[in-house]
């Protein structure tokens, strides 16, 4: 918006100046001689810059000035046949080349002056990024320093800047120079992860502090272990898997939260999964015990990056056999007692499935979970009508069949 305003102003001024030229052309009959008197063409930013011209007549041609920030027209003051053009501050405070031209119809004088920055730094403009990099030496962050003078002009080329950073026990100091207005330094990571503090200094002015996190690289292979209260397949206890401390190839412990997949291949060929995230490099994951005898081969992965050894677990069958009792016209089927490895009642929740077949066709499947070591199925006459059926009862990976039981 502000730029727009400047443009509009410039355009208006241009229009006005063209108008001025026209009127001048009409007024001007005789040839005027205007000469630049000022010899100096290099100024320091902030100086008062006045361009002096000699003239023969009392005319006041406008001067068109332009630098990289914009353009303007300047009206001179005419004293004793001398024209004084004083540059406004918004031009004289900015470094760089400034082009001027007298808008006079007859004599075409133009020129260029150079404005150079002050040498005293007052402020440091500093930027750094990215704020986190990976350990290992290839990844880097870049510090950009722009020492500026009191008028916010970047200091001259080859101003020396000291880039400093602290990492672990070491403080490095590098000397760099500004080029194309800025000084920059790429700081590569080291093999260790950790926190790096970065600052810079130029002409006795110091920047603020920046923080760079050097994060560990991708993990390398690791080992896993399992911890279980017992090795019985009771369907109730949990096995806890743990990894060794996950480290990257430089020996840094990986970031907290790194995701580890524990893949369990069972003896039946199915793949079970459990997951853990690391804390201080160790990921833990839990898995509930199967309710039937099983062999597990467990291997953990950090997908595409690292993997563990394979460990094996064997779960012993706890329920060797179970009783089934038919009562109340064979309509109540009591399964149990379901006993665990010390003959204790199995913890509540063991699933028992009852399949009812008629002429080898599955009529109904009922699933119930055990309470106090027993499961009771009540077959309602309106669901299972009076007839004879085959029953199969499955639990804990074992099954019992009862053929042609008659319900009445």
């Amino acid at each position: 918006m502000r730029l727009n305003l400047i443009y509009i102003q410039v355009i208006i001024l241009l229009c006005l100046s063209s108008f001025a030229i026209k009127t001048d052309a009409v007024d001007n009959v005789s040839v005027t001689d205007i000469q630049l008197l000022t010899q100096k063409n290099t100024f320091q930013a902030g100086d008062t810059i006045t361009l002096q011209f000699s003239t023969t007549e009392s005319i006041t041609p406008l001067m068109y000035c332009t630098n990289s920030y914009g353009s303007t027209l300047i009206k001179p003051s005419n004293k004793d046949n001398k024209l004084y053009y004083r540059l406004p501050q918004n031009l004289s405070h900015k470094i760089g080349s400034l082009y001027w031209k007298l808008l006079n119809d007859t004599t075409h004088i133009n020129g260029e002056i150079k404005i150079i920055p002050k040498t005293q730094a007052v402020k440091m403009e500093t930027y750094i990024g990215p704020p986190s990099i990976e350990a290992g030496g290839t990844d880097y962050t870049m510090l950009v320093v722009i020492p500026t003078d009191e008028l916010d002009n970047p200091l001259p080329e080859h101003t020396s800047v000291t880039a400093k950073h602290q990492f672990l026990n070491e403080i490095s100091i590098d000397s760099i120079q500004t080029k194309n207005l800025i000084a920059y330094k790429t700081i590569n990571s080291k093999d260790e992860s950790g926190r790096m503090l970065v600052s810079s200094e130029s002409v006795n002015i110091n920047s603020k502090e920046f923080t760079i996190n050097v994060l560990p690289a991708i993990p390398k292979s690791f080992t896993i272990s399992a911890e279980q209260p017992h090795n019985y397949a009771d369907g109730n206890q949990q096995t806890v898997f743990s990894t060794s401390i996950l480290k990257d190839k430089y020996g840094n412990i990986v970031s907290d939260g790194t995701f580890v997949t524990f893949s369990i291949t069972t003896s039946e060929g199915t793949v079970l999964k459990t997951y853990g995230t690391t804390i201080k490099g160790i990921a833990q994951a839990r898995m509930i015990h199967p309710d039937h005898q099983a062999q597990w081969h467990i291997k953990a992965y950090v997908a595409g990056m690292a993997e563990s050894n394979t460990i094996d677990l064997n779960f012993q069958q706890v329920i060797k056999d179970f009783n089934v009792e038919f009562s109340k016209h064979n309509r109540t089927i009591t399964v149990g007692p379901l006993q665990s490895f010390m003959n204790q009642m199995i913890p509540d929740g063991l699933q028992v499935k009852l399949f009812i077949y008629k002429n080898n066709e599955l009529l109904e499947q009922l699933n119930k979970t055990s309470v106090d070591g027993y499961v009771r199925f009540n077959l309602k006459p309106n669901i299972v009508q009076n007839d004879s059926y085959d029953f199969i009862i499955k639990t804990a990976g074992i099954e019992q069949s009862f053929n042609t039981k008659t319900l009445w």
Binding site: Y127, G129, P130, P131, S132, E134, T138, D139, L215, P216, I218, P219, N236, Q237, Q238, V254, S255, D256, G257, T258, F259, V260, T261, S263, G269, T270, V271, L272, K273, T274, Y275, T277, T278, I279, Q284, A285, R286, M287, I288, P290, K299, Y301, V302, A303, G304, M305, A306, E307, P347, D348, G349, K368, T369, S370, V371, K380, P381, N382, I383
Partner: protein
């Protein structure tokens, strides 16, 4: 003739102001429309002459609604705020209505007492109360009231030909049209045409000796004499109607309503949808239903013949979809656009004069003497008592309808939301409200922030909205598949609308927000949950608008108020002249045609009696039916229906009453069992349809097959349950279901997890993107990506990994191109991805390309609800390549990864398995992401499944997943040249961070399956946690 003050009118005005004036403070804000008008008024207070409003629908023009009422509210709001303006204008509308009814009644009945009665009855008429206190249709009320004021003036102009009357009538019509556009158009047909008819009758009556002597020839003769005035009036009023709101007509011509019609209760079959019948037929007619024979008898007398025709058509049109007649009369298009309840409103208003007349004759006229003569004085009194009682009942019932059946959610305190939007530049994004009802309009008028939604559906512009029959996204759960479908599109691609914040007042929408990639920010102090979506750019500072010429803006801003001023000046002068007696009082022409109230027709009385008896019988029959249907334990099916109904409305105590008391289940036990069930079905489902079938039944027990359809925000769930019932003491009871008795291994257990908090390092400043505050975007890597085609729909599938050291929120955006690099479609990943990834975690993904559904064939909109349904984009050209943009942002919420797969069993069609929740959060909705691979272990398809039940901590949950059919999947391309992560090419990131990727890692973990199309699958888990603790 000395004129006395009409005491009935005075009483009516006083009662009306007291009754409505005091009650409207409790009703108006919860009506459907009042807050919308308030929002429009707010627009005019801010920019009177600028019709473009940015706040709703990504910008719309307020020229879509006549401005007078809104501008009036805006003017009054200068004194005491918007609500003051609203109430003031409402009170004025009440005044206008009562006086309007009086003048109209006087015109019709030509009897001041009758008209006085009519005004008194109008105050309490159920249709007026409903329109004002339940619907809040202010412009409609003001429109019809001013039209009623205009009618006597029109009559006088046509009768006398004095131009003064032409001016007054036109001035009033101008006010009508600037407050409500539909009223004068239909008012012309239904009020003014019959009025002209009546006038010609009156004119003809003057030519002959008696009413009977008017023949068609005499009528035609009078008509030709009056034709010139009629034409003058017709042309002038047409000019007024068009001219006064010319910008409105231009606007509707430029933006024709091309939307899919929105279902409205007034178009229902009232016999099928009884609630619509109650609201749109029974309530507005009210006690007038009893008097229908009298009303029709009177209106079909010769003088009122044309009113008779008019009220007949209005009555028929008001019956909506009950009979095919309205559709036939109006035509398909008009039938689907108009809300038909207004016809009933007009019919009931047209009946008011005769209601007044009837009351007059019943209370002190010939009807009284007739009844007393025939049936005795006691009967007359009883009749009067019954009628008055019914009338009062209807009034109270209508008034309190909003109390018993609230049309709006509880009043929401807006200040916390307004403060939230003002904080930290939150207003720089659009917001969305969910479950706010019409209060969203009130929020919009309090904040400068913009919403993608809106509450004036005619102004919708986004095709995502206009192609769906929904009023607003806000209440999309009530609009079935179309509603949720539309909402999903907005939630999946919110960056398209700069939509970043969602205020949810209904937890129903939480799962859809979560699975579309949104995250909870915090709960405001008014209980509203704020959801946000990452990676959404702010609204650009310059927004597009449809500009209109300056003259239109000036017309729009100036004319409406001017019409009021002119009408006021013209009509108030008449009143002053009359009151101050500066000129001899002019008796209105119509008062010359006195009605004869000396002999009430015997047959009408008889028919009225018969009619009343019929109505009473119908009423009793319906009540009986209602009782039978609702007697819960009379029949096994009733028990099932009542039980499911109770569960649906979470009335667990009622549900418990239906459980067999012999099962020894205490209410404490029952409630405990209810409290431990959570999940999609028990917490987020709404019962849509239920079908029961008795499989077998004997004297003491029954088995019922119950088929239920549940609407959930994510998908439609169809269930089949078998319920057993027992009969005890002649009452049926449900047998309780078995519960899962699974016991967890631990009493108390611990679980360590990494927590994250992003606070930035910014000083307390409003400076944007302060460098220290900007976090690095987590680096992701797309491991594989393919464009595939299944049947006719295209999808991009693949796998993605968070290869950074911080958790990432992942947003995937895919674009399809044809051979000549033309963009064909763009969409984001919705359900088929884990939106939150821990460091080094992988997720399969799929981007479905959804079109703006049904844009091609409007008639193919399915009636049934299925939120999961999606319409594939119809491509004109074949997509051959794709690009994929992945954006990662640091996220610290919803990082629960503790759902493990603890058992799997499978055959060639199904996978049965068990999930185990090994962590410390209760999982509300578990999701399975199933990836299919071919024999080369190359990814071919990604599918998902939501589990209906939640998983408590350390518990197991069985699942059954049906494998895909043998549909061949065609791989269009697997070139990954155009895959970008955070704007950088995927390959360069991959080479830098993971240069030596172990390629076969994922493959070693695949589950082989026995399937003809696919060889392996991978199952991943994702979970929505409803109440994180």
């Amino acid at each position: 003739m000395k004129e006395i003050t009409n005491k009935y009118l005075i009483v009516a005005i006083l009662l009306g102001l007291i009754f409505h004036g005091s009650s409207l403070f409790f009703t108006l804000e919860t009506t459907y429309d009042a807050l919308i008008h308030l929002f429009f008024a707010d627009h005019y207070t801010n920019s009177w002459f600028e019709p473009w409003n940015y706040k709703w629908y990504t910008g719309f023009s307020v020229m879509g609604y006549p401005p007078l009422v809104h501008q009036a509210i805006a003017l009054f709001s200068m004194i005491g705020g918007l609500k003051f303006g609203l109430f003031t204008v409402t009170i004025i509308s009440i005044l206008l209505f009562i006086t309007g009814v009086y003048r109209f009644s006087l015109l019709i009945t030509t009897n001041r007492t009758s008209a006085g009665y009519a005004a008194l009855l109008a105050v309490f008429s159920s249709s007026f109360i409903e329109t004002l206190h339940i619907f809040g249709q202010l412009p409609s009320i003001i429109g019809i009231s001013v039209l009623m004021h205009a009618l006597p003036e029109i009559y006088s102009w046509l009768k006398t030909g004095k131009y003064w009357y032409l001016a007054t009538s036109l001035s009033l019509i101008a006010v009508t049209v600037t407050s409500h556009h539909v009223t004068p158009i239909f008012g012309m047909v239904f009020f003014i045409f019959p009025l002209i008819g009546m006038l010609i009758m009156d004119h003809a009556r003057e030519q002959v000796k008696s009413m009977k002597a008017i023949t068609f020839k005499v009528f035609l003769n009078s008509f030709s004499k009056l034709l010139k005035r009629i034409i003058k009036f017709g042309i002038a009023s047409l000019i007024i109607i068009i001219g006064c709101i010319l910008p409105y007509w231009i606007n509707s011509k430029n933006n024709p309503i091309t939307q899919v019609p929105i279902p409205h209760g007034s178009r229902d079959n009232f016999l099928e949808v009884t609630s619509s019948g109650l609201v749109f037929f029974l309530i507005p007619w009210g006690i007038l239903l009893l008097l229908l024979p009298y009303i029709f008898y009177r209106y079909y007398s010769k003088r009122y013949l044309f009113f008779g025709l008019s009220i007949t058509i209005l009555t028929l049109l008001g019956t909506g979809g009950t009979t095919p007649i309205p559709k036939f009369l109006l035509g398909e298009t008009a039938f689907n656009i108009l809300t038909l309840d207004r016809f009933t409103l007009w019919a009931s208003i047209m009946a008011l004069p005769l209601f007044g007349e009837f009351t007059f004759r019943f209370v002190q006229g010939d009807l009284k003497s007739l009844i007393q003569l025939k049936f005795g004085a006691v009967y007359h009194r009883i009749c009067g008592g019954v009628l008055a009682g019914l009338f009062i009942f209807m009034t109270i019932f209508t008034m309190s309808l909003g109390y018993f059946r609230p049309s709006q959610p509880q009043k929401i305190k807006m200040q916390p939301i307004v403060n939230f939007l003002n904080q930290d530049d939150h207003y720089k994004w659009r917001f969305l409200t969910l479950g706010f009802g019409d209060q969203m309009a009130w929020l919009s008028s309090q904040t400068n922030a913009m919403t993608v939604d809106g509450n004036y559906h005619s102004a919708r512009r986004l095709p995502e909205l206009t192609t769906r029959p929904i009023e607003r996204l806000e209440n999309s759960k009530f609009k079935g598949v179309a509603g949720i479908g539309s909402l999903q599109q907005f939630l999946t691609t919110p960056e398209k609308y700069n939509l970043k914040y969602t205020f949810s007042n209904d937890k129903f929408y939480d799962p859809i927000l979560y699975f579309c990639g949104w995250q909870r920010l915090r709960q405001l102090e008014n209980g509203i949950m704020v959801w946000e979506r990452l990676n959404v750019p702010p609204i650009p500072s310059v927004l597009p608008k449809d500009d209109v010429p300056k003259w239109q803006k000036i017309l729009w801003g100036v004319i409406p108020i001017t019409t009021v001023l002119i009408a006021f000046l013209l009509n108030i002068q008449m009143l002053l002249v009359n009151t101050l007696r500066t000129k001899p009082k002019i008796i209105p022409e119509f008062l010359k045609f006195k009605s004869n109230y000396s002999k009430f027709s015997n047959s009408v009385l008889r028919i009225s009696h018969i009619w009343s008896v019929i109505l009473v019988l119908v009423f009793i029959y319906n009540i009986y039916n209602f009782y039978i249907k609702n007697d819960a334990q009379r029949h096994p099916e009733n028990v099932i229906l009542s039980y499911y109904d109770a569960l649906d409305f979470k009335e667990f105590e009622t549900a418990y009453q239906l459980i067999n008391p012999a099962s020894n289940k205490t209410i404490a036990q029952y409630m405990l069992e209810v409290s431990v069930t959570d999940g999609l079905l028990s917490s987020y489902a709404k019962l849509d349809a239920i079908e029961t079938k008795i499989l077998n039944q004997n004297d003491s027990s029954a088995t019922v097959k119950v088929k239920t359809n549940w609407i959930t925000p994510l998908e439609k769930i169809n269930r089949v349950d078998y319920k057993s019932l027992s009969k005890i003491n002649d009452k049926w009871y449900l047998e309780p279901d078995d519960i899962d008795t699974d016991l967890p291994p631990d009493q108390l257990f611990s679980n360590n997890a990494t927590g994250y908090f992003n606070q930035g390092r910014r000083r307390i400043t409003t400076e944007q993107t302060h460098h220290e505050d900007v976090l690095k975007q987590p680096v992701l890597e797309v491991l594989s990506a393919k464009l595939v085609k299944l049947d006719n729909s295209y999808a991009i599938i693949g796998e993605i990994q968070n290869i950074d050291n911080v958790p990432a929120d992942v947003i995937l955006k895919g674009t399809l191109y044809n051979d000549s690099n033309k963009v064909l479609a763009t969409y984001n990943a919705k359900y088929h991805i884990k939106h939150k990834l821990m460091p080094k975690e992988t997720s399969a993904f799929k981007i479905n390309f959804e079109g703006i559904a049904w844009s091609q064939t409007q008639d193919s909109i399915p009636k049934a609800f299925n939120p999961d349904e999606f319409t594939p984009v119809e491509f004109e050209e074949q997509p051959t390549k794709f690009n994929l943009h992945a954006a990662g942002n640091v996220s610290s919420s919803d990082l629960y990864k503790r759902i493990v797969i603890s058992d799997i069993e499978m055959n060639s069609k199904h996978i049965n398995g068990t999930l185990f929740n090994s962590g410390i959060q209760e999982v509300t909705i578990p999701q399975l992401l199933v990836t299919y691979y071919d024999e080369n272990k190359s990814i071919t398809w990604v599918d998902h499944k939501f589990l209906e039940e939640g998983i408590r901590q350390q518990r197991k949950q069985d699942f059954n997943y049906k494998l895909m059919d043998n549909t061949p999947i065609q791989v269009i391309t697997d070139r990954m040249d155009n895959v970008f992560v955070n704007g950088l090419p995927n390959t360069s990131i991959s080479n830098k961070v993971v240069p030596n990727r172990i390629e076969n890692h994922i493959y070693t973990q695949l589950q082989p399956i026995n399937h003809s199309e696919f060889s392996y699958i991978k199952i991943e888990t994702n979970a929505y946690i409803g109440n994180p603790n």
